[in-house]
Symmetry: C2
Subunit: 195 residues, 2 copies
Amino acid sequence: MARKTGSHSEITGPRVQAAALRLIAQHGFAAVSMRQIAAEVGVQAGALYNYTNDKQTLLFDLLRTHMEHLLNALGTLPETGTPMARLEAFCRFHIAYHIERPDEVFISYMELRNLSADNFAAIEALRRRYESHLDAILKDGQAAGHFALDDARVTTFAVIAMLTGVNTWYREDGPLSKTDLADLYWTLVRRAVAA
Amino acid sequence: MARKTGSHSEITGPRVQAAALRLIAQHGFAAVSMRQIAAEVGVQAGALYNYTNDKQTLLFDLLRTHMEHLLNALGTLPETGTPMARLEAFCRFHIAYHIERPDEVFISYMELRNLSADNFAAIEALRRRYESHLDAILKDGQAAGHFALDDARVTTFAVIAMLTGVNTWYREDGPLSKTDLADLYWTLVRRAVAA
DNA sequence: GTCTATATGCTGATAGAC
DNA sequence: GTCTATCAGCATATAGAC
């Protein structure tokens, strides 16, 4: 299998994504230059444009890929069971996924401002799909009398904000195991919504 | 009272702060240039350096001022009453203050990355002082048997994240009044912590 | 206190050699 | 697919006139 001239790697594309993700999470999109990303990968800046049309597209692809992975993973959760069981599964999933991918989560909240209008709309649509999953669970549980909610939509925002907040303080080398963590948050959510 | 030569305003300093706040909240610190801030104020870029040593200091002063105002306002809350009453007062205060100053809150979370190490440490210390206020209420209520908390520290993080999340979706021209909003969040918090 | 002018360096992106 | 070289523009910050 002949390589093309000058190719030193079969996987430069993913390495560009990984470098961009790490650097943008650390310094912010506007503060990171294409040259910095190239240096992290070990190529010259011009070579990056074999893998992205421009810097904006690079950011958009990072966010879109993250949201699609998140939605795919969400899709593997069982859709049967009581609303309470489904809510617990969602909460544990959300925490586990977010702890596992802090950089992706971080830039998906922090860099929305730096998306073009079209790209922003696309990411927001994916985010709404994710939130609507929780919203549906809450409304089902409300209708079945398992939950006592004054406003399901607000509860969705509140629960997601609370759970996502773990990324601002949780450290894997700290005193709490991931199971402890999920148990603590689940207890808070359960008590907040239970009838 | 003689003005100095070329002075066109007694309040350029505050106007610089306000312009920087608005632009940074909208576009991000690294994406906003001193020229943009100057244009918003109506002066040339060089004139900004009469009011700040450099761009970094401008950001730091915005965040420090916000945190100090927040702590001062927090200090006006009554420190007497049951832990439940103090918790309710804190929650309503936090939501009201954050809704009232969305730009300041936004940059205080988003631009921490762009602070120098020393400046970051200073802002983090102020933030910890704020969080410790809620932590103290939770621990008092726990000790008095009014709250049932598995972990007061985690509950502090969870409650603050949940309440701060209002800024990501709440709009004053939407269907919910500020009172409705505070009532909804307070209900969630109360049920999550009550014994 | 604000202006103009400038020093110095970095930016995103492209062209063409290999 | 990666390199080098380059374009045209904008960045922060400062100096000195007024």
